[in-house]
């Protein structure tokens, strides 16, 4: 199998071609640096994304507090994580860095507040 990706490791945006089969990555071409190769490999084997959203707050200044995943979560699980995030309510006061959801869907990532409320 063959896939073309635009590398986002830096602003260059190289078009990287990855050849792979079910077992392994066969080749990475078009990248201009090592980071590009690493990015392409992860994109094929286990693409992950940082997730940011907001969580409902009871009794805060603002009705919602922004949150992020403490580390990237599998791209395929973004919407499942959103379901969990949307089902949670937290009581004010919320502190920046506070863990709102621990180890969301066993991804190893916590959902943490990124502002005070």
């Amino acid at each position: 199998m063959k896939r073309e990706l635009i590398c986002v490791a830096c602003p260059l945006g190289c078009t990287v071609t990855v050849e792979y089969n079910d077992e392994e990555i066969l080749s990475v071409t078009g990248n201009t640096c090592k980071r590009g190769e690493a990015y392409a490999k992860t994109e094929i084997t286990n693409p992950t994304r940082s997730l940011t959203s907001s969580v409902k707050v009871n009794g805060g200044v603002l009705p919602v507090v922004p949150v992020k995943s403490s580390k990237p979560v599998p791209k395929s699980m973004l919407f499942d994580c959103m379901k969990v995030i949307n089902s949670v309510t937290v009581d004010a006061p919320v502190k920046i860095g506070q863990v709102i959801i621990e180890n969301i869907l066993d991804t190893g990532a916590d959902i943490i507040a990124t502002n005070n409320d």
Binding site: S54, V55, K56, P63, V64, N86, T89
Partner: protein, 477 residues
């Protein structure tokens, strides 16, 4: 309970007529189909106080224009509505057009227009250096002015309500019945009874008249598109600049506005749909082509917004004012196209005379106060006035709209005023919040919050202009 008079349509005619009627001991109700006053032609026109040389001598238009122009300054002062007597120029681009200018001058004399003068090119260019070099001359009419049409309507309604008139919004008239000398006016919101009706429903006044079986009102709906340009170019001209009139109207004008912007437009296009206030690519091009002819430096690159207004052009080319032939208690106020805004104070008097003489013995309202309470405008206040105002009400110390320098206090006032704002556009027209160069990009959401707070509802209940124009959907969480 039965009203003496029900005015259908809270445009500038309805509002000023309501105020005029409130000088008498009459029970008057002002019925408006939408969520606010001035939602038809009164919110989207050129805002020009015409001198009165356009209309044919002897017509209602001619008579009421000149009278209205005389009255406007005082009406605006009483209602604390900005008005400026900036004069108008009808510019000619050929010898041929100079003949038209001369004709207009003579017609103006016949209509009793004061302070007119025919200018040659040099005199004209000295007066307005940014005009095109291709000008030949112009008709200068110094009695002409500019006014903010929706502000006038808002102020007149407020003053009418203060003087006892009842205002009902979202009262869209669906049918009118007449029995025992009394009309029943029905809408989805309910029914009211009244002895007299003034049909000031603008583009819909023909439909209202048909409800009593009167089909004498024949209107052609004419669409006019405009651009508003940034205040940075607001002083490109000081007079209102017309081109020579054509069959379709007064042509594309270039004019300062009372608020310091530059207005260019309108186009003139007959359309079938009374609700069609869309702007068009063709309209944009027409405005660009013709405005540049008057002022080569005008550029829509400075545009901050565009809008469309609908005028109800009467087929017989004159205002339709007076009792219906079908039922003399039904008073027409239809076909009020230009110079309708200028004529409005005179039309209000004219209609009130008709009603009061028909009723016979009507006492004056001794408590009538024609002065609208001064509205605090932070941007116009001196430092001392600002400090006093903020000390009294700290909300005047918080700027919500940065572009136009509008405070939270002014927005709260606009919501709580008689017949006050109920939606974002209503706040905008009353305060100018959101009318500046960012067009509400920053303050829009704050205005929504303030409206929700003052009206005691959720922010997703707030609309742009009533009925289904909600700004937000559900909560995200």
């Amino acid at each position: 309970m039965c009203y003496d008079v029900a005015i259908i349509g809270a445009g500038v005619i309805g509002a000023l007529t309501a105020r005029e009627l409130s000088k008498y001991n009459l029970k008057t109700v002002l019925l408006e189909a939408t969520n606010d006053v001035a939602m038809g032609a009164s919110k989207a026109n050129s805002g020009i106080v015409h001198a009165g040389f356009d209309a044919k001598p002897g017509t209602l238009k001619a008579k009421l224009n000149v009278k209205g122009c005389e009255m406007m300054q005082k009406v605006c002062r009483d209602l604390s509505v900005p008005y400026k007597k900036n004069g108008s120029l009808v510019v000619a681009f050929s010898e041929e057009e100079m003949k038209t200018v001369q004709e207009l001058y003579e017609r103006g004399l016949a209509n009793g227009v004061p302070d007119m003068k025919v200018l040659n090119k040099d005199e004209l260019k000295a007066m307005e250096p940014n005009l095109s070099d291709d000008v030949f001359g112009a008709l200068d009419a110094e009695s002409a002015g500019i006014v903010c049409p929706y502000e006038l309507t808002i102020a007149a309604t407020e003053n009418a309500v203060t003087n006892g008139v009842e205002f009902r919004r979202n009262f869209k008239v669906e049918s009118i019945a007449f029995e025992d000398g009394v009309f029943s006016v029905k809408s989805a919101e309910g029914e009211i009874k009244t002895k007299y009706i003034v049909d000031a429903a603008g583009a819909h006044s023909d439909d209202i008249a048909k409800m009593i079986g009167d089909d004498c009102v024949e209107l052609i709906i004419r669409r006019g598109e405009y651009f508003i340009l940034d205040k940075a170019v607001g002083n490109m001209v000081s007079h209102t600049i017309f081109q020579c009139p054509t069959k379709m109207g007064k042509g594309i004008l270039v004019s300062p506005t009372v608020d310091g912007n530059l207005l260019i437009g309108p186009t003139a296009e007959d359309i079938d749909d009374k609700h069609n206030t869309a702007t068009t690519a063709d309209g944009f091009n027409t405005i660009k082509t013709y405005s540049v002819k008057s002022c080569p430096a005008v550029s829509t690159r400075n545009a901050i917004t565009s809008f469309t207004g609908l005028r109800a052009h009467p087929v017989n080319d004159d205002f339709i004012l007076g009792p219906s032939k079908v039922n003399s208690q039904f008073i027409h106020a239809s076909g009020i196209e230009s110079p309708g805004l200028t004529s409005a104070p005179a039309i209000a008097e004219y209609l009130t005379d008709i009603i009061t003489s028909a009723i016979g013995e009507v006492k004056k309202n001794d408590e009538f106060n024609g002065k609208r309470e001064d509205v605090f405008r932070f941007r116009h206040a001196t430092d001392e006035e600002k400090m006093t105002a903020i000390a009294k009400n700290p909300a005047y110390g918080r700027i919500v709209c940065r572009c136009e320098t509008i405070t939270e206090g002014e927005i709260i006032d606009a919501i709580n005023a008689p017949a006050g704002a109920r939606d974002v556009d209503g706040v905008k027209r009353r305060t100018r919040a959101g009318m500046g160069r960012c067009q509400g990009g920053f303050c829009g959401s704050k205005v929504v919050e303030i409206l929700a707070r003052e009206l005691g509802c959720e922010i997703n209940d707030i609309t742009k202009f009533g009925n289904g124009s909600n700004i937000l959907f559900d909560k995200t969480k």
